[in-house]
Symmetry: C2
Amino acid sequence: MAETINRQWLLAARPEGMLNEGNFKESSSPIPEPGEGEFLGKTLFVGVEPAMRGHMLETSAYAQTMNIGDVIRATGVSQVLKSNHPDYAVGDLVQHSCGFQDYSVSNGAGAVKVPAGVSPEAVLSVFGGTGYTAYYGMVEVGEVKEGDTVLVSGAAGAVGNIAGQVAKIKGASKVVGLAGSAEKCDWLVNEIGFDAAINYKDADVAKQVQEAFPDGMNVFFDNVGGDVLDIALNNLALNARVVICGGISRYNKDHKVPGPENYFNLVYKRARMEGFIIIDNLHRADEFAGAMTPWIEDGRLKYQVDVIEGFENLPNGLIRLFTGENKGKQLIHVGEPE
Amino acid sequence: MAETINRQWLLAARPEGMLNEGNFKESSSPIPEPGEGEFLGKTLFVGVEPAMRGHMLETSAYAQTMNIGDVIRATGVSQVLKSNHPDYAVGDLVQHSCGFQDYSVSNGAGAVKVPAGVSPEAVLSVFGGTGYTAYYGMVEVGEVKEGDTVLVSGAAGAVGNIAGQVAKIKGASKVVGLAGSAEKCDWLVNEIGFDAAINYKDADVAKQVQEAFPDGMNVFFDNVGGDVLDIALNNLALNARVVICGGISRYNKDHKVPGPENYFNLVYKRARMEGFIIIDNLHRADEFAGAMTPWIEDGRLKYQVDVIEGFENLPNGLIRLFTGENKGKQLIHVGEPE
């Protein structure tokens, strides 16, 4: 550990409209010393997710708000370099809230050791909050069952591609993804096992969705909101479940964004629309991992990470979620283990 | 039965914008003769409901569409005057789809005999579709339980006032109604047993709702939609249930009506919004009646009908639902039993 400097990205300005580099400020401080009951971690990988923009606002909807000048809060995998904590030994890999910085001190709250034989990339994608969000949302909120027809928006995103795969594994008869490029659509169908994919930038998305679901869809798993939600609501089967996981089309808007003008189809179709946040269910992490591990081991559930390199790219890693560049879970590779 | 003429109101023009007298045309025909397996009924009372406007459109969302020139479809109570049907005797009172006319012939499909000791007014309000809608929506969709806080919109309407009373009987700690006049609000609180009522025509409805539910509401039972739905969505408790029963603020609009711009609070509050139509559950009528009858007998559940007089007022009875004039179930008294 030759380094003595801890590089950090701080919250410089709260987001207004599209997130941009001006929201972040580079800084540095000495590498901190862990106190009693704490450990020092070196950041290896950071994972980013759309909800982080919300946590940068003055009033976060459900998480503690960051102050201007705080290190950007983020989950990642660190290697323990020093430990005064009985549960963590030097060399352990730990998933925790490391933030946008090279080094962090933790008292272990919210930290989970990376199991032997599991890569940091897997922990930050299919295991951990991302995978559990997909599983819980599709299985418990969406109540997907054999023979269901399923549409997933943001299907090439971190959660979306797993949600669609989980639906297939659970016996859905047809899983269709909405994604933002022909290349992503191709990937969903030819590598991830979706039955079909629709490029939401096409002119005739509504028509394509209708043709894909002539009898309506049983489950819509929404990561996007906006027009896509309206289109789905117009194509529900009776007793459909609309799972509201995200609304990335809304997050960079400062003005009010119109809601689904046809929400009343929930009545005509006796359907429900339900939101959830996985943090309510993280005590069930072992259960989720237990369900998904065999699928990963036998190759039915694939996971995809989109890794960019370097501490200097941490803000860009977050920004590119909103420009739709990532395919699978966006990670930033910050450091090598010692 | 001295009459030979059957007066009828026909669909003259499909509704565009606000329903008005031009949508209806008065006509007459000879009183029909019941065939084999049919009975002839004389219309005593007709009940109207907001969904009827939708059935007058070219494409009804869930019912068979009426054609121009058809008798306006409506449910009412008739007295059997002639019968070739083994289950119905002359003199029986029957709830069925009688339509906007003095006399109708029925083969008994969808018909239910009015039980002895129950008035036509009760059958067309608290018993029958209206009461069952309130009960099923509040108990099974809203899952109201002891200690819940509950907001009902359109609370002075046929379904709303019963839904609020059911919530109270089920142990809700606070039931608040939204209604369109000070007089209706007074009625809800002082006669029907709501804990509070808010006049939705006040300038500060959002503030009043927020003050009434400082910790958010557990159940919102919506008959109205529009701004009221947005206000409720801004004041949900965690795991709230939003029951979409109706959306009367939308029904007379030809342009697209904005949806709830803050539907995403369903995520932040891990809440759900669900629609239903009671026709899916009418096979459970005996169960619903069984639950509600003791409440009516012991005076805990009151029912209110708003009766206007005369065949000539059938269209007006329907129109006044949309001008908010009715208090409780709107009935039109068409004829006397013979």
